[in-house]
């Protein structure tokens, strides 16, 4: 269940261009978080909290890792926090990835830019359950690449950059035909990427994680709705999502 928590910053590092990795300590969230969920972070001087995906969890050390890009004033300010500081967060928030593995053999993870982080904890968890994992990670350019080796530890990993400065040049969609067979895909990244993927892989079972500007982050304000094929006609990204079956949402 979602709860208001204080998380102590254990460490904070810039691991790629404008990209910060923070390790946060909190027993409640590390205990309860599942892949695909996020934490909703209060940043001083800001009215709205910032949603950031849970990129990894270490239950033994009671830590949660997040990775975020300095984009605007909120993430910029957040990046100035130091080890020892506390973050005011709500979490674990939202519904995570479907991880029932019955009959599952191979999965494909497709992460674009700042959509890569939630793929990491997911892939790691699936690999632990002996699922064969393939990862396709897309970044803007060489400077933005992160976590390649970490993904390689549990998966065959393809990296593409938009400008070709590292790995293959192009978009994640250009690599997908080459990765071989898989039963299910999971994806998180910018909307145009998700649209292309869900179109291209419309025959496959897929789960995607969506982004939207949020108000409450708990399901109360209706800021983050996405139209769906369900009877109600919509779902809330913050509480019903951010993860959805690819077929259920209308992008």
């Amino acid at each position: 269940m979602i709860s208001k928590q204080r998380m102590k910053i254990v460490s904070t590092n810039q691991i790629a261009k404008d990209t910060i990795e923070m390790v946060l300590k909190n027993s409640y969230i590390s205990e309860n978080a599942i892949p695909g969920q996020f934490i909703h972070i209060l940043v001083e001087g800001h009215t709205l909290r910032r949603p950031i995906s849970i990129a990894d969890v270490d239950k033994d050390n009671e830590t949660v890792t997040i990775l975020f890009k300095k984009l605007g004033s909120g993430t910029e300010k957040l990046s100035e926090s130091k080890a020892g500081d506390f973050l005011n967060v709500l979490g674990p928030s939202g519904n995570g990835f479907e991880t029932s593995t019955e009959g599952l053999h191979t999965v494909l993870l497709i992460g674009g830019g700042i959509g890569v982080p939630p793929m990491y904890y997911l892939g790691k968890s699936l690999a632990k359950q002996n699922i064969h994992v393939i990862s396709v990670l897309g970044f803007q350019s060489k400077d933005h690449v992160f976590y390649e080796e970490k993904f390689q530890q549990f998966s065959k990993t393809y990296v593409v950059t938009n400008d070709g400065s590292y790995g293959d040049k192009g978009f994640v969609t250009s690599v997908i035909p080459n990765v071989g067979e898989f039963d299910r895909y999971y994806s998180c990244g910018p909307l145009p990427m998700l649209k292309a993927i869900t179109n291209e892989l419309s025959e496959k079972e897929g789960f995607i994680s969506l982004e939207e500007r949020m108000g409450c982050g708990v399901g109360a304000c209706f800021a983050c709705v996405v139209p769906t094929n369900t009877e109600k006609g919509y779902k809330k990204i913050c509480s019903d999502g951010p993860v959805f079956a690819a077929r259920e949402v209308i992008l």
Partner: protein
């Protein structure tokens, strides 16, 4: 804690704190954080005659000390609200206020009449910041005559006390307040959001899909205080104050300006426990500034004149 008690038409509040309409859904989500029985009342998310999907996204944007929203009256419709939401909220020992809206006077009337048949709702809050589709989209809340008309019709359609929620986007807030008072309003609720806009420099378009959105949060507090202070001098019905409240001190400022109770909106998003926290802190805050009870503080700044 009888010092927190406030009595308003139809509402016997154990304390003057309630979440503002649209910022608390129908309470379900926030009931994960604390016991809603703690609240003076809950003002529910808007109800219209039938289900509405609302505006395209993005629906919110952040501004300096505030936010813009253009949710667009999304709600399941008055019947479903009574069936599912009022039933849920009724389990708590708190008053329930229904926020009523429509695109026509008839829709307001229908929603008000429908709520009238349920015992569980204690009062109506009339959201007049809606475009009147039959009058070329002019908002009910920016024209004293239209505001009075819809108030009158709703009063006839319902036995529940009616609090008319005023829009701040007007030249003369006192004229609006007087118009709805004369039309039979039992109380006022003020202020709704100020119309604003933010432009995305990269896309060169308004961030909010609906282009304009309603500005709320601490940024608008001085405007809310001014309007309540002005209105309090000219009307005799009580005021539920709102606009940027995020602390017990803010609550006291609204009481002094003339509010008899308050609603907390945007601050729920920064702190889901804000209403509960304020209720805890209010007694000490009142005492620190020399008040034995909430009722003693109401309108004190106005009476000081």
């Amino acid at each position: 804690m009888s010092l927190l008690q406030v009595n308003l038409p139809g509402l016997h509040l154990k304390n003057p704190i309630m979440p503002a309409s649209g910022c608390f859904g129908f309470g379900r989500e926030y009931s994960q954080f604390y016991d809603l029985s703690k609240l003076g009342a809950v003002i529910m998310k808007v109800a219209t005659g039938s289900e509405r999907f609302g505006n395209p996204t993005p629906r919110v944007a952040e501004t300096a000390s505030g936010m813009l929203n253009a949710i667009g009256l999304q709600n399941p419709g008055v019947e479903k609200i009574i069936e599912n939401e009022v039933t849920f909220l009724s389990q708590y020992d708190t008053s329930i206020i229904a926020n009523v809206a429509g695109s026509t006077i008839e829709e307001y009337e229908y929603v008000a009449r429908t709520f009238n048949n349920t015992k569980a709702v204690h009062a109506l809050e009339l959201n007049i910041s809606c475009p009147n589709v039959k009058e070329g989209g002019i908002q009910f809340g920016t024209d004293p005559k239209m505001a009075a008309k819809v108030t009158e019709i709703v009063k006839k359609a319902s036995n529940l006390p009616v609090y008319v929620k005023l829009s701040p986007n007007v030249t003369d807030i006192v004229a609006m307040a007087k118009a709805v008072e004369s039309a039979g309003a039992d109380g006022l609720s003020m202020i709704n959001t100020l119309t604003g806009m933010q432009i995305n420099l990269a896309s060169k378009r308004p961030i909010i899909a609906n282009k304009t959105g309603g500005l709320s949060g601490a940024a608008i507090k001085p405007i809310a205080i001014r309007m309540i202070y002005e209105v309090k001098q000219h009307v005799h019905i009580p005021i539920i104050g709102m606009g940027g409240i995020s602390s017990a001190e803010d609550v006291l400022e609204f009481l002094l300006a003339g509010a008899s109770a308050v609603a907390v909106g945007t601050a729920n998003f920064s702190n889901p426990l804000i209403c509960s926290d304020i209720i805890d802190e209010l007694p000490t805050t009142l005492e620190r500034y020399g008040f034995d009870a909430v009722e003693d503080a109401i309108g004190k700044a106005v009476m000081n004149e």
